[in-house]
């Protein structure tokens, strides 16, 4: 240790009930933070400063300008760089004594167990349901505690899942939410926006739980979910009991876990949520950032004139998907059959942050203006 920094943890060690023992425990802990975004950044900053000895960071994303208002480890000079690399540099400067490991990969059930098994505590700061179920199931299989946080508009949730204490295993994400919601039922931060201060508040709570579990100090927030509303600082706790369905839904072993398809699992019934009514199409078109896509062959009738749209025939949809930029895409055709196929193809190949719909019943179902 650098002698100049020998008392770096002095104020933590001074704390009654924490002391040298607590600090040593932090130093010996290996924590993996999954997602180095709005939640991951404050978690990482606090964990590094407090002296967690080994920190892993998983994220395959690169820094973009719209990250900067809440992802507090990044600055304009990091633009376009891997988040793992930018975060690791910042944190290593903040605390040169700790070990930081970068995983610039997209976490999937194919690589998750391999990465997660080397850590004592897992922290979920991801931004989508597929990852949250995948990480929860891995944590349960590996028997590791998982610190969870999530936000929606001005509200946040926080919990500690799957902690073994005094021979008891605490409840996990699937006890609270056994199966994922239909895609499209809930909007994400890209659609609804988020204030940076909220992710920092929830991220700080997550870091607090991580530090408590690592040091053995205090009572981890188990068997409950905590919710917080920024606008009025209102908090609310939900008690959660083990859910009999939860056990059945978690893969039983590594083989079953590898066979899971979390992307499809999170869109259990694709037709149900993908097909939307003409009224909803109009509403989305008014909201903007929506591309209306005619997937019929050029020249097919009737012509559609009510909204501006683009034409990519179903036969070319895969090779021309790079032409699609909007966050929300609505496909249509004459009867709604080809457009549903196109929507399903796009849903597989486009980024997960895009939402794809198909006009139910096609132009046959579109109200005529006389």
């Amino acid at each position: 240790m650098d002698p100049m920094l020998s008392n770096r943890y002095n104020r933590q060690i001074l704390l009654k009930g924490f002391g040298k023992k607590g600090q040593d425990q932090l130093h010996q802990s290996k924590v993996l933070v999954i997602g180095a975004g709005g939640l991951g950044c404050p978690v990482l900053q606090i964990l590094a400063a407090s002296g967690i000895g080994h920190i892993g960071i998983v994220d395959n994303d690169r820094v973009s300008p719209d990250n900067l208002s809440r992802q507090i480890l990044y600055s304009p000079e990091n633009m376009g760089h891997l988040k793992t690399q930018s975060a690791a540099r910042y944190l290593q400067k903040l605390n040169p004594e700790i070990q930081i490991e970068e995983f610039p990969v997209r976490l999937s059930n194919k690589n998750a167990l391999e990465i997660l098994k080397n850590f004592d505590i897992l922290v979920d700061g991801t931004d989508n349901f597929e990852s949250r179920y995948m990480i929860n199931d891995a944590a349960c299989l590996l028997g590791k505690p998982l610190v969870y946080g999530a936000v929606s508009e001005f509200e946040g949730q926080m919990a500690v899942w799957n902690l073994f204490k005094n021979g008891n295993q605490s409840i996990n994400y699937r006890d609270a939410f056994p199966t994922p919601p239909h895609p499209g039922a809930f909007k994400n931060c890209n659609e609804l926006g988020v204030l940076g201060v909220l992710t920092s508040i929830i991220g700080s709570m997550m870091a607090a739980e991580t530090i408590k579990i690592a040091s053995g100090v205090g009572e981890p927030f188990i068997n409950r979910i905590w919710t917080y509303t920024l606008l009025n600082h209102r908090t609310y706790e939900f008690k959660i009991k083990p859910n009999p369905d939860s056990v059945k839904l978690i893969p039983k072993n590594e083989e079953a876990y590898l066979a899971m398809d979390y992307d499809s699992f999170c869109s259990v019934n694709p037709n149900k949520w993908m097909e939307i009514s003409p009224d909803l199409v109009k509403e989305y078109m008014m909201e903007g950032n929506t591309l209306l896509l005619d997937v019929r062959e050029p020249g097919e009738l009737p012509q559609f004139k009510d909204f501006e749209h683009k034409n990519i025939p179903l036969s070319e949809i895969e090779i021309r998907s790079n032409e699609i930029q909007a966050d929300r895409i609505i496909t249509f055709c004459y009867s709604g059959k080809r457009s549903l196929m196109a929507a399903q193809i796009l849903n597989k190949i486009l980024d997960t942050d895009k939402t794809i719909y198909s006009l139910e019943g096609g132009l046959l179902n579109w109200p005529q203006n006389d």
């Binding site: 997602g35 975004g37 709005g38 939640l39 991951g40 979920d124 700061g125 991801t126 931004d127 989508n128 349901f129 949250r132 946080g149 999530a150 936000v151 929606s152 508009e153 509200e155 946040g156 949730q157 609270a176 939410f177 199966t179 994922p180 919601p181 239909h182 039922a185 809930f186 909007k187 994400n188 931060c189 609804l192 988020v194 992710t199 979910i225 919710t227 609310y236 706790e237 939900f238 008690k239 959660i240 009991k241 859910n243 009999p244 949520w273």
Partner: protein, 77 residues
Amino acid sequence: MQIKIMVFGQLQDITGWHEQVYDSIPDSESLMIELENQFPDFRNMEFRIAVNRELIDQKTNFQDQDEIALLPPFSGG
């Protein structure tokens, strides 16, 4: 009999309120029917129901002054 209903997350975008007092709703199933009638969009939403801050997983009878909270999952980060 009166119960207090609290909704969280994006459910508030549907109801337009966070908290509301309802009369004469005897149990959790009747509550769902009432809410789905009043707000058809509730049919597409996933959420858990808590009675007096505890999540329930089966039909539950309400008592006067019960506090019912509807908790959807959040995914943002």
